[in-house]
């Protein structure tokens, strides 16, 4: 048992030319070139972050994803962010609820999101703890796969200048803290 609140002072590390920042906050309120929405195959926005996208962004994002129709597991697609503080949303489809090869699918999903960011010359991209929480990907696995993908992208060059991992609370912040700190 722990007796005190988790300290969530942001942590920043430079990996090659990329600044990786871990922070606790409100993903869909960040002023970034894009934030990543952990999407379903049919791109339906749903609740959670989807609630915030629809409420803060207006109806534009919903219309765009409906027009696109869907993506396959491990793929990503980019839309505008409607009236939100971010400019774009990268919808990246990752594994859910213990499905087979969770790790491989999560890796593909991360790489696709980073590739979209690269192709579109995005300078700052924010990620949630991918797949953790509602979709049940263990936090430790989410952190490991995300950090590996970010490290590889940074080493390969031309990744976004700033990559943010934005956690909801102290618990998921803690799961990423050591990994980001060790970058």
């Amino acid at each position: 048992m722990t007796a005190t609140a988790t300290a969530t002072t942001p942590i920043e590390r430079k990996v090659h030319q990329t600044v990786v920042r871990l922070m606790q906050g409100d993903l869909t309120a960040l002023e970034v070139d894009a934030f990543v929405h952990y999407a379903k195959e049919n791109l339906e926005l749903g609740s959670g972050y989807g609630t915030a996208i629809q409420s803060r962004g207006g109806g534009a994002v919903k219309k765009e994803v409906e027009k696109i129709g869907g993506i396959r597991m491990g793929e990503a697609v980019m839309t505008t962010a409607g009236g939100m503080a971010a400019k774009h949303i990268i919808h990246a489809c990752g594994p859910k609820f213990q499905e087979s090869d969770t790790e491989g699918k999560l890796r593909d999903c991360m790489n696709s999101a980073l590739q979209i960011a690269r192709e579109n010359g995005l300078k700052s991209v924010a990620f949630p703890p991918m797949g953790a929480g509602f979709y049940g990907v263990p936090l430790a696995l989410s952190a490991q796969v995300m950090i590996d993908a970010i490290r590889s992208a940074a080493a390969a060059g031309t990744p976004p200048e700033v990559i943010i991992i934005c956690t909801v609370d102290g618990r998921d912040f803690l799961a990423f803290k050591n990994q980001v700190g060790a970058l």
Binding site: T2, A3, S47, G48, Y49, S55, F97, G133, V168, R171
Partner: protein
């Protein structure tokens, strides 16, 4: 015999081995099928003859899994003890229909089992197993995802929550014609940190205002957190201990961050139970501060003479519905009655009551599962009969979830009744004192933003204001100042003119240009008075831009009394 198991069924079976603990095992093993629990369940009583609603029958849907995979009797004599595993996705759907759609985890059967079988504890576990593999009613998924990602069960965004608090504060100030009534947000070192059900922010904000009025007239030193404010916990309903621990942790973090002395939990049965009793275990967390239901807080204020009430203000016949979680699981049965007898003149019991009361039929997350609404309303007949027999015009409860369940069944069964919370009755019985019960300091409750690039000055000014009872926020530059103005809506800003990035002049100009901030009181606190002083420049700037004078202008070093006098005069004039 080897049957192929679907991927999801296999994952569920693997999870079962992890989730069965001693408490669950005892309940799964102890049933002797005596049938004594059958007539305790509101589903059974409202659906006579339908065996699929009987608690022991429903329990056996889960028990057979336990027998098949964990209990030695099932491994040795499976046909004898009814052991059977799950193999297909359809079987998981059938299990979902039972554990989500035919039981509200109300624990009425548990209380009446001579063998101590606690149906709700393993029904919740079974829900958790299904959620783990993504099998759950759509509404359950929606609510759980909102609470995981937005931080509350109804997806209320931070700006909407804060706007609601501001709106309620304004309503209260005009209702009581008293500018000192505040809903303090993120106040440090408060004696009470008040947490609410998101239903209040979204659909029933009057309950926030009523609680605020009670805190105010009690002279309480209280606050509400800007984040981590949701005391409900869907983890109790969907069986997800991880969600339960995360949600509780956010609330505990908020209290610790604000160095609050006590957490007061608004009226909500499952929220109270989860926050006070369950979440520390789910999240493996020690909680060092006391936690209390708002019912106890309100009762305490009356008994200590901190608020006065007049019960004749609530003269209609009132009955009380005990929420399952408050009464059966937390033993809170007498305090609400004591409170009711103090604030209303015609209180009559419904029967059965206290721990024997029937569920509102909307418990256990049932209100989110629209597909089961017809079944829920049919099973509510027993509750409707119970309410009707009281002859009361108002049914009071101490749970926002029960309010929704009761409201729905009252409408369905066309009962001539209103549903209220205890806070509604206490607020309407309040006798407003001539003066607030605690001596107010001159600037008590006002929100002041100090914009200054020098940390020492911010601390110095902040202390002066805090000593006067103000809520103080700080910003080291104009950009952060502007953001704080938008987020916190202070009553007054003290503004330094020499600031990094953007000057104080420019910020003043921006504020006056914007309709929303044009009237925001600004007192300039600047450090230069020489010939080349910005004061001269500043007034030249005002003339050039045709801007109004600031509400006050003080030169550093600032005399504390002059500062208080100036700020007070500005605020009084505004009021």
């Amino acid at each position: 015999m080897s049957e192929t198991r679907s991927y999801k069924a296999q994952k569920l079976v693997e999870r079962l081995q992890v989730k069965v603990n001693r408490q669950i095992m005892l309940s799964l093993e102890a049933c002797v099928h005596c049938g004594l629990c059958t007539d305790q369940c509101h589903y059974v009583l409202s659906n006579p003859g339908d065996v699929t609603y009987a608690p022991a029958y429903k329990a056996d849907r889960i028990r057979k899994l336990f027998k098949a995979h964990i209990d030695w009797t099932g491994k040795t004599l499976p046909w004898w003890v009814g052991a059977k595993s799950v193999y297909t996705d359809q079987e998981l759907e059938d299990l979902k229909d039972t554990v989500f759609g035919k039981c509200t985890n109300c624990r009425r059967c548990s209380l009446n089992c001579p063998m101590g079988v606690d149906m709700a504890v393993f029904n919740r576990m079974a829900r958790g197993l299904l959620v783990h593999v993504g099998v759950m009613p759509e509404g359950v998924a929606v609510v759980a995802k909102d609470q995981w990602e937005i931080g509350n069960q109804m997806g209320v965004l931070k700006e909407d929550y804060l706007e609601t608090l501001t709106w309620m504060e304004e309503e209260l100030q005009s209702e009581y014609n008293d500018h000192s009534i505040r809903i303090p947000i993120d106040k440090m070192d408060a004696d009470v940190v008040y947490s609410i059900n998101p239903r209040e922010a979204k659909y029933d904000p009057r309950t926030i205002a009523e609680a605020a009025a009670i805190f105010h007239f009690a002279g309480e030193n209280w606050t509400m957190p800007s984040q981590g404010w949701d005391m409900t916990n869907f983890g109790l309903f969907n069986g997800d201990d991880e969600l339960g621990g995360a949600v509780g942790g956010r609330l505990y973090d908020a209290v610790e961050r604000l160095r609050g002395k006590k957490l007061v939990i608004s009226e909500c049965g499952h929220g109270f139970r989860s926050t006070r009793c369950e979440a520390p275990n789910w999240g493996k967390r020690d909680v060092a501060f006391p936690m209390e239901s708002a019912v106890i807080t309100m009762l305490g204020y009356i008994k200590q003479g901190r608020i006065q009430v007049d019960k004749s203000k609530n003269s209609e016949p009132v009955t009380y519905h005990d929420s399952c979680n408050n009464a059966r699981s937390c033993g809170m049965t007498e305090e609400p009655r004591e409170l009711l007898n103090l604030v209303c003149s015609d209180f009559r019991e419904m029967h059965p009551n206290r721990a024997e009361n029937f569920c509102c039929t909307g418990g256990g997350g049932a209100m989110s599962m629209t597909e089961y609404a017809p079944r829920r309303l049919k099973s509510a007949r027993i509750k409707a009969d119970q309410l009707k027999a009281t002859g009361a015009k108002i049914v009071v409860t101490s749970c926002h979830n029960c309010v929704d369940g009761l409201f729905d069944l009252i409408k369905h069964y066309k009962l001539d009744m209103q549903v209220k919370l205890l806070v509604n009755l206490v607020a309407s019985a309040l006798v407003v004192p001539e003066r607030p019960s605690r001596k107010m300091r001159p600037l008590e409750g006002y929100k002041i933003l100090v914009i200054d690039d020098e940390p020492d000055i911010r601390v110095y000014l902040g202390k002066i204001f805090k000593d006067q009872g103000c809520l103080v926020t700080e910003a080291p530059d104009a950009n952060q100042g502007m953001r704080a103005i938008k987020a916190d809506r202070p009553d007054l800003v003290t503004l330094d003119l020499i600031l990094p990035y953007m000057t104080g002049e420019k910020l003043y100009w921006e504020l006056r240009k914007d309709q929303k901030t044009a009237d925001l009181p600004v007192v300039i606190v600047s450090g230069y008075a020489a010939v080349d002083s910005p004061r001269i420049d500043f007034f030249g700037f005002l003339a050039e831009k045709r801007l109004p004078q600031p509400n006050g202008f003080l030169e550093k070093p600032v005399d504390p009394e002059k500062l208080i006098e100036t700020v007070r005069a500005v605020l009084l004039e505004k009021a």
